[in-house]
């Protein structure tokens, strides 16, 4: 039951990311100068007289430009327009009363649209980095577990060393070595590489343990006796044994990397500000001192992050084996 709920949450986030141009009523840079920090517009079915209508919204009327306070203008109903102009849903009068499902930020940009587009960067980066970490971890883990000896010792010592280091500081130090201003693509590649390196040791340890114990089993000996090459034995027989472990670690690495991106962007060492990622959105919000008291919708990236991580944790529930935890090979410890 809860597992299914988790899958639904994650599927929603991924769908929003992929379908962002259609799901979001606006682009990430469209701004409404008269609606700075405007609250969310609520789609309604029932008007003030109590009669039922097709979904509609009330436009915001600005009460105070200085204090950025708004009030719903109950005299006009603006019906929603479905499937118009390539968008799933938007207001039928975009210039006067845009549909702002999660309000507007300090530049008057649609927070919901930025959240959906931000999911592309945030989730995309986390998934890319997690795949990179698995690849690196699987390669080094198999080498260490299969060949053993000095190479194994050396590799495991190195992973031990990287694992005790606080991941956030390693990422921070590596990131700050490079120029502060980089293009979005460079930042994406760079962060994915850094995260992959920091996450790989956790994978490598687990894979090594699995390969080591599997290669002693009869089927591995049989394959070897039949003349299978090392590479074939590893790729066809031993690595598949680690599939379950890798799947679990993937669901642990992705949330860790989502949060890592957010932290780095929050302190200004992640994506450039004009782009929308969940971290840069939080960074924008943090520069607004009234965000906590008056404009809480600016914190919706934090809520989105929580939901996605919760979804992944629900999917994962009980499938994490205690034996992995004991070995210390568990990416949930990746801080």
């Amino acid at each position: 039951m809860s597992r299914r709920l988790g899958l639904v949450i994650v599927a929603f986030a991924v769908a929003a990311a992929i379908g962002a141009p259609a799901v979001a009523p606006h682009g990430i840079t469209d701004h409404f100068g008269l609606l700075l920090n405007a609250p969310p517009t609520l789609p309604r079915l029932v008007d003030d007289q109590g009669s039922l209508h097709a979904p509609f919204i009330y436009p915001w009327r600005r009460l105070s430009q200085l204090e950025q306070r708004y009030e719903e203008d109950r005299s006009v109903r603006i019906p929603l327009a479905w499937f118009s102009g390539g968008h799933l849903v938007r207001s039928s009068n975009e210039t006067a009363a845009p549909l702002l499902l999660l309000g507007a930020d300090s530049f008057g940009r649609d927070v919901f649209a930025r959240l959906a587009f931000g999911a592309r960067l945030s989730l995309g980066l986390a998934i890319t980095a997690a795949l990179g970490a698995m690849l690196l971890g699987a390669i080094f883990g198999t080498i260490a577990g299969y060949y053993g000896g000095t190479l194994d010792d050396l590799l495991m010592r190195t992973t031990d060393f990287v694992m005790v280091l606080p991941a956030m500081y390693v990422a921070l130090a590596l990131r700050s070595v490079l120029p502060l201003v980089l293009t979005a693509t460079q930042v994406f590649g760079l962060l994915a590489a850094i995260f992959a390196v920091v996450g790989a040791p956790f994978i490598a340890r687990g894979v090594r343990a699995i390969v080591r114990s599997e290669k002693q089993l009869e089927y591995a000996a049989a394959a070897q006796a039949l003349g299978a090459s090392d590479l074939r034995l590893l790729a066809r027989h031993l690595l598949p044994a680690a599939r379950g472990f890798l799947a679990v670690q993937m669901t642990l690495l992705v949330p860790a990397f989502i949060v890592a991106e957010a932290t780095l962007s929050y302190v200004g060492l992640g994506f450039p500000d004009q782009l929308a990622s969940w971290g840069t959105m939080l960074h924008d919000a943090s520069t607004n001192i009234r965000v906590f008291a008056d404009f809480p919708w600016l914190l919706s990236p934090a809520a989105a992050m929580f939901l996605v991580v919760l979804g992944l944790n629900l999917v994962l529930q009980d499938s994490r084996s205690p034996a992995d935890t004991r070995r210390g090979a568990n990416a949930s410890l990746l801080g």
Partner: protein, 325 residues
């Protein structure tokens, strides 16, 4: 035991030297230096040259590193360019702030997480266990970055506790401790809550495994009261995997403390290092990294000793290798 300690201390020294050296070299390799970052590119050439020479930035990386290392052996870690103070004076104050935060959070997490884990692990089907498990799952999905944002939000709305900083300006000195404790609430909860949830889950898993073991059944059969079996015999056995995890938690704690420090403006090592990295204050970067490494080495040492305490088998070499490094 003495040999073991000597080896651990040697490793700690290696960790501190390696980490601070690496960060000095890395920070030096970064484009731009403190002088260009602080004076801007328009500054006259002579000024830039003079300032560079003053900070030792005109030397090659190798020469600068050797000079720094030679001084560091005499416990002189250079001067911070930003603050104009010796790194040696600057670090302890900030490191102590981080230590206060991290240690309080760890204690809170341990005293909440472990007992709850024992309860949920020994009676997994009770209503209480289900409730705790759900809360843990929610908290596990809120890393320190999110918990601190959430708590700052709550504090800003309700005014229950201060939202930022470590001390109120102009607070009377006699109420200083109370003031500090009030400021400590938010960052400690932000850092401790996810950790408590993690410890609860781990302890619960370990406990449910141990409860199924024959020795527990045998003790129960001999008529020892259940509570005593659970809280004394089974708990002692179940602490082993937890103690092994504590060595890795130190790193998690430092990482989490970084996010909390940044969001709640806690004047700790994390915010100091961030500022140093941004301004390319290389000696301060190296100092901060070294202090962090010291924390780490100390934390893993303490957790190894704790592990040896709950599991005597751990002091033999094979285990030491697995838990150590």
């Amino acid at each position: 035991m003495t040999r073991y300690l000597v080896r651990r201390i040697a490793f700690a020294l290696f960790l501190v030297v390696a980490v601070s050296s690496a960060s000095l070299v890395l920070a030096r390799l970064a484009p731009g230096d403190y002088v260009t970052e602080s004076l801007g590119a328009q500054a006259p050439r002579e000024t830039i040259e003079r300032e560079r020479a003053r900070f030792g930035l005109d030397k090659s990386i190798g020469a600068q590193y050797r000079a720094w290392l030679a001084a560091a052996v005499r416990l002189d870690f250079g001067s911070s360019m930003q603050y104009g103070r010796p790194v040696r004076d600057l670090i302890p104050e900030r490191a102590a702030n981080t230590a206060v935060l991290a240690v309080t959070a760890l204690l809170v997490a341990t005293f909440i997480g472990l007992p709850l884990g024992v309860v949920t692990g020994s009676r997994p089907d009770s209503l209480f266990a289900h409730a705790i498990r759900s809360v843990s799952l929610v908290l596990l999905s809120m890393p320190p970055l999110l918990t601190s944002l959430f708590l700052v939000f709550v504090a800003a709305r309700t005014g229950w506790f201060p939202i930022a900083g470590m001390r109120s300006p102009g607070a009377p000195p006699e109420g200083a401790l109370v003031d500090l404790l009030r400021h400590l609430v938010l960052p400690t909860m932000a850092l401790g809550a996810p950790l408590a949830a993690m410890l609860e889950r781990l302890q619960s898993q370990a406990m449910s495994e141990v409860v199924g073991e024959p020795f527990v059944m045998a003790t129960l059969a001999r008529g020892v009261p259940r509570a005593r079996v659970v809280w004394r015999d089974a708990l002692k056995a179940a602490l082993r995997p937890i103690a092994a995890v504590y060595g890795l938690i130190v790193g998690t704690l430092l990482s989490g403390s970084f996010a909390v420090e940044v969001i709640s403006a806690w004047p700790g090592l994390g915010t100091l290092m961030l500022g140093a990295l941004r301004t390319r204050d290389v000696y301060l970067v190296a100092g901060c990294a070294g202090a962090g490494a010291l924390f780490l080495a100390f934390g893993t040492l303490v957790s190894d000793i704790a592990l040896a305490f709950v599991d005597p088998r751990a002091s033999d070499t094979s285990h030491e290798q697995a838990a150590g490094a």
